[in-house]
């Protein structure tokens, strides 16, 4: 049994004596007898060796595939070795939130660096220190846009369904009306979106590349929204931004997204990273922690948590968000990743992901996996037809140690990253030929 208590039974008795007690039980005398636990139904504790074995057995019940062609909100990218080295450092791992700036300059500076990098990536002026994930970032962005006379939000139906679901849950409790515009094929129905924007529309949210991998016409979206005085929240992919036009360049007001591709493993869904950046004018509306640069009384440059009067520990029930923590270690992960990759490496990851996806699309089209909409530009994900039942197809691919694309609406949503080499893709194509009997 572990408890990580350093002292022995004898030492404990001495401490009890120092406090004026005879037994540990007396510490709980204040708890009513009727609610004291009589028999805790937990298994016996284990030694480190045993628990390691038990957990390894559990992990052994999972299957990690050699080749992954599935994205849909979680992406397998190459993680440089130095990322894990840095984020495993005990100091970064075990430190608390940097409220005591004098002994936390390491963490604070790394968040400042992260904030800067996210601004560069998204083309925006300000970033916060991160929130839980891309979906909650989307919800928080909706609340940033709330004004006295404008509350409703319009979402394109091409947004990741998980994001939509989280946003709806958040908005329902705050009674923020959400209108979702059904997609036109695999892209936003711009006409319908435009028609849905009214005088009381606070914000319009479009994701690009969208859930189906398609690159949206953000110019049209921004024009339509700003025309009616609504803000634009753009959901984006951080790897794609190594190459594609940024939310800032499109004129969006807020950029949010899922930061997992920046050095975090798939990990069955978490921990991930929600990034939020915006234009200068909306700075004070950003939720969560923000690090600022300042000086100490000797004039030394230093960093500190700032603009705290926005936050829950000060505003309490008047805070616009209850968020307390950020995903600090995940933000550092992203920061190390971006520094290791650099602008060239990131562009390379983006170009390689796109190139491999387009190569795959081309190779499987003749096998009955035609693009659902060939005229739409896509980044590294694309939706195709499927000549057999998609679930059954993916099941068969498992035998080849391949995780196929995600079955979606009778088709398959494929994804490639820089991790899917030509040889990897050729193996998939050969497997598909066999499975489909071609």
């Amino acid at each position: 049994m572990a408890s990580y208590i350093p002292y022995t039974g004898e030492e404990r008795q001495a401490m009890l004596k120092a406090v004026g007690l005879d037994s540990i039980d007396q510490l709980y005398n204040v708890v009513p007898e009727s609610v004291r636990v009589k028999d805790l139904d937990l298994p016996e504790g284990m030694s480190e060796l045993e628990v390691g074995q038990v957990m390894a057995d559990m992990a052994g019940q999972n299957r990690a595939f050699r080749s992954v062609f599935r994205g849909a909100g979680a992406y397998r990218h190459y993680i440089p070795a130095i990322v894990k080295t840095v984020t495993s450092k005990e100091e970064f791992l075990t430190a608390y939130t940097p409220y005591q700036a004098e002994i936390s300059q390491g963490v604070l500076q790394s968040i400042f660096e992260y904030q800067t990098q996210m601004c560069e990536l998204t083309g925006m002026d300000v970033s916060n220190a991160s929130v839980y994930d891309g979906a909650s970032a989307a919800a928080e962005a909706v609340f940033m846009c709330q004004e006295r006379k404008k509350s409703a939000v319009v979402f394109s139906g091409t947004v990741n369904p998980q994001v939509l679901r989280v946003v709806k849950t958040y908005c329902e409790s705050r009674q923020v009306p959400v209108t979702v515009i059904p997609p036109k094929g695999t892209a936003t129905d711009l006409e319908a979106l435009k028609a849905a924007i009214a005088d009381d529309t606070a914000a319009v949210y479009v994701q690009s590349p969208n859930y189906f991998g398609v690159i949206e016409d953000m110019d049209a979206v921004v024009a339509a929204a700003h025309d009616k005085g609504a803000k634009v929240i753009m959901g984006c992919n951080p790897i794609a931004l190594g190459l594609l036009k940024t939310p800032g360049e499109y004129g969006a007001d807020i950029a949010v997204g899922e930061g997992q591709p920046l050095g975090m493993p798939l990990a069955f869904g978490g921990p991930y990273l929600g990034f939020m950046t915006c234009k200068q004018a909306m700075m004070r509306k950003l939720p969560g922690r923000i690090v600022g640069e300042t000086t100490d009384h000797d004039g030394n440059r230093c960093y500190v948590l700032t603009l705290q009067a926005r936050e829950q520990h000060i505003r309490r029930e008047k805070a616009s968000s209850n968020i307390c923590s950020n995903q600090a270690l995940c933000a550092m992960t992203a920061s190390v990743y971006l520094a290791a990759m650099g602008p060239k490496g990131l562009r390379q990851a983006a170009e390689s992901s796109a190139a491999h996806a387009h190569y795959l699309a081309q190779q499987i089209a003749p096998l009955g996996f035609g693009l659902k909409e060939a005229d739409k530009p896509f980044f590294h994900e694309f939706l195709t037809e499927c000549p057999m039942d998609p679930e059954a197809l993916c099941k068969k691919l498992e035998a080849y140690d391949i995780l196929g694309g995600l079955p979606v609406d009778g088709g398959i949503l494929w994804c490639c990253t820089e991790c899917n080499s030509k040889a990897d893709i050729d193996r998939l194509v050969a497997a598909l030929k066999e499975v489909c009997g071609k």
Partner: protein, 127 residues
């Protein structure tokens, strides 16, 4: 020692008030700015907003706290001191020059204190 100009009126919640031809000018007193410490941000209402006597119409932020600012009158905001948005320190430096809002169409006011009565309020709090 708190500065309390004789010609102004005051509230128990440490706002000062001046009336100019039916327009009420409101700010924070010297005692208030001293108690609040260095102000870092002021959240002001907009022109046209309605305010109600006894209710908060604004809040001011210091590094570690937020404090409500209460309106002594019921009426409509006709002017807002935008300088304070960029330079909240003006309230600390010159509280009686750094007006926050002007209110017109005033239909009711709270009981306002004169300088002597307010001095007593401050003395009681400092004790």
């Amino acid at each position: 020692m708190s500065v309390i100009p004789a010609e102004l009126k005051y509230t128990k919640s440490h706002e000062w008030v001046k009336e100019e031809d039916g327009v009420f000018v409101i700010g924070l007193t010297d005692y208030a700015q001293s108690a609040l410490g260095d102000l870092v941000f002021v959240n002001l209402p907009e022109e046209g907003d309605a305010v109600t006597a006894g209710e908060a119409f604004s809040d001011v932020e210091s590094v570690k706290a937020v404090s409500d600012v209460f309106s002594p009158v019921t009426g409509e905001v006709c002017a807002v001191n935008e300088e304070l948005l960029d330079n909240p320190a003006l309230i600390n430096e010159a509280p009686y020059d750094a007006w926050m809002v002007k209110v017109n169409n005033v239909s009711g006011t709270e009981e306002l204190l004169d300088a002597a009565a307010y001095e007593a309020v401050v003395a009681a709090e400092e004790a």
